[in-house]
Amino acid sequence: MDALTLFGIFVLLPLVGALVSYFGKKYAPIIAVIFTGISGIFLYLWYGNFGSYTIDIGVKLNLTFDITTWFFMLMMNTVIFSSLLFSVSSKLKRAGGFATLMLLGFAGANGVLLARDFLSLYLFWELMSWSIYLLVLRTSGEYARRYLLFGVLSAYLLIMGIGIIYYYTGSFLYADALSGAIPHAIWPWILTFLILGFGIKMAIVPFHVWAPYAYSSEQPFVAFLSGGLSKLGAFGIFMSMYSIAGISLLQSFGTFRGVSLMGYPFALLGAATAFIGTILAIFQDDIRKLLAYSSIGQLGYVMIGLGLGTPLAIGGAMFHAFNHAFFKSLLFLGAGAVIYRTGKYKISEMGGLGYRMPFTFMFVLFAIFALAGIPLTSGFISKWMLYEAAISRKFVIVAPLMLIASVGAYLYSYRILYGVFLGQLKDEDKNVKEAPGPMLAAMFILMVPLVIFSIVPGWILGWINKILVENGIGKLNYTTFSYSSAIGGANMAVFWIAFILLLIFAMLMFMAKKARVVDQYDNYLAGEAPPSVALHAAHNYYKPLRDTWAPLLKHSIDRAYEKFSKFFAGGFYEIKRIYTGNPQDYAAYLGIAFLAFLLVGWWLLW
């Protein structure tokens, strides 16, 4: 493999695909699926063919294909493949533009993952940013602007970090940053800029306000955005903390219970994100918004792991990022399937769809298990690793916040489960059909890794372990079915055996007593005819909880940003007044400028 092959398959091929699929009109998603499929096949084939390459397009792009890149690309590729597969049958308007932009975003994402110099990082980062912007623009203009502003803010924070590095080293290469040219005291600045810059894409608090709105766009895209692209933030933070700076440098800023003081504040930020995201998710009635806030919360966990920086924590963060890629895009696609069939967004207006869409229900159910971290799913292991990482170092703020957020995750998961799939089927939904084949296939593809890695977490832990070892962080203790840590660990084999035994027991119980299916009007009503809506109470869900939290929910970061921008816009109108429209004023400016220049020049000379 040479540089051009690597670059060609992972970056140029999607770009070509973008161009081709624009003219594909109705068939654009299929074309795009084929293109991502090809690059996916090469990704699987090239595992182990790692190496560094340089592409010269006038500026030198340094690309490295290594295990970290491969690991993240695996998520990216699977997620976009299934998202596009989903979109084949979702009858999008202007599907050509959709597929083009998705592939552009994909090319950008692959570029970010391959990049090992700041120029190409920034280049692909921005490419990805604006393609997402245009994808959001397809459904909502105002929020697209908000996304773009945060996207650009993220890019400019990166630029600040990159610029400081460039000032000292005069090179864009990641590898040169550690050459010792950068004074020790400058590193916190660099890392803060880089981490916040990447963090915006992960929607960490207080930069999360773009996410709920961007995530309300077309579902196949949102699945890719939340499942795939938001992981780039995690990747970037991992690279800047543990590859560019390195663990020993981080530790040299002092430690707090063995965790670098450089990382700990970000772990706190992650905990706050997990907490706030989850709390807000509980109270959403719009299924898209609920999933969006849930996504914010889950990425908070990843941030916690990356901030804590022990091998267990980073391993947990990586694993959780991996899981999140699959279960969250599965959830978004599931929601998409439901929305596609019913045309409704509000959870309170749905119900009972599990009877009409059993396969969708099954897939979503599994994703929800993974999200809530119920044992038997891979989501459990990753969350458990993160808990252990926090508990083993006795972090009394981070660990409880994580636990609260985890309980919150149960609450909102249950809201989806009950509000959408269980309960009473609404009359207007009586004729709803199961989602079309490509959609189910897309969801199935996403579910497979969740199942496999819940049984054999050792495979994925093997990759993660390689990443950790390669970056000199440490290593994980794991076997094919389990991992172990200083305070415990988890053995999935035991869980599965217990589960299967319990399942058999439950089946026996179930078979022993003959069950009878009753109509829902037939039970516990004592002959009284009920109004048909009353049986499915999904309005004002969690109202008591909401009342409890009301004083806190009153404060909104959203509104703070609005005030902030209004304040500035007002200032802009004041500044505008210097352009009076009177040429004589302008001539006076010229005269004053001349005199000022002259006097300053002479003064400097003197």
Partner: protein, 474 residues
Amino acid sequence: MIRPVLLIALPLFFAFLSPIIGIWSKKGVRYLIIFATALNATLAGILLLEALQKPVFDIIGGFQPPLGIVLMVGPLGAIIAFIINLVAFAISIYNLKVEKEPIVRYSMLYLLLVMGSTGMVLTGDLFNLFVFLEVTSIASYGLAAYNKDKKGYLGAMKYVIIGSIGSTFVLLGIALIYSQLRTLNMLDIAARIGTMDPYVKIMAFTSLFLGFGVEAEMFPLNTWVPDAYDGAPHPISAAFASLPAKAGVFALARVIFTMFSFTNFLWFVVVMGLLTVFFGEIVAYTQKDLKRMLAYSSIGQMGMIIMGLGIGTTLAVEGAFYQMIAHALGKALLFIAAGFLIYAARSGKIEDMKGMARNPLIGIPLLIGALSIMGMPPFAGFYGKFFILMGGFSQGYYAIIALFLAASIVEVAYYARFIKIVFERGNESKVIRPDAATYVPLIILAIIIVVIGVYPKPILTVLQHVGTFIAGGA
């Protein structure tokens, strides 16, 4: 082997040929300027290839320099001249849409504008630079008032007042330099600049800097820009942003690097650039009128270029030149698109243009142009901005870059607002299809923007010569 003087002589010839053609056919004149600019662009391309080998010197009238006038074409000058002529060609296609008479005079002035801008870039003689500046200015004044409405006249009037004060300054600067050095040849001046009395030197620098700053849209000399752009016909707004502005900023670069090789005063230029960006972007945010918004945005972009020149490292100046190219292409594209949008919406206000760009023929080039101006990859605007920023960092201008980035966010905000409105759904019945004279130049410009954005190597190869340019070479 092409003599650079052809690039000046041919437009002049065609300019004065057009009234004669106009006697027979008004339509012929329109196609004549397309032909003339295409020819000029081709010649400029060939000249660029020649200049890449070694700088081309063209001695006019057989008088040897430093006494005689000389054209001095380095690779950088050649590529700017090439881009100017290329954009002029694209705009001249859009000129077919100009309906107002007298088209013959319009064509003449347009060709003079092209010729003056090209001349400003190619010349190696200070006084000659002044003459070309004036040719450009006079053509611009005329074109700015071409619509013959009140807006046009007032814009032109402001342009005339500021512009002639500016050129008076240039002349003053030339007089001061001549009084001390007794030469007008740029390289000769550069060689002997050290012998100048420092106080006079600063005064001369100030005069020239401010004088060319008027054309280069530097704060606070850019006050004419919004009115003149707004009042001019649409193709001319595009031309203003791409031709005289680029020539002006190139002249500024000549003043800074070729003639006065200042090193300790450059931070001052950076600050002026920053102020230009700041005021340009912020005021652009407040504009409700599309062409005025683009005009202020143009100010912001020129400020970025001036910043790049002021930072003065190889990387930053490379970025400034890249940005000149990108801005010439991108802003011309946007102004042409703006012309179409204004025509389609029958109003200059952005809010009236709801959904007007939903036709892909206009929408996609518009997006490419806007993204390129915002500095997004893989479009032309990306490298320029990135290099300028990195150049700034390498000189330690942290605070200035941070402020600049803040202004850039404002830029993104108003472009996003504009994009949101023109792509909004719900006005489908009123969306019209652009005709060939509109979309052909748009597509030409968009393709160039994408190509040099995706594969910047050709441009960067030319810009490698920036090192010689900074050191005072051609």
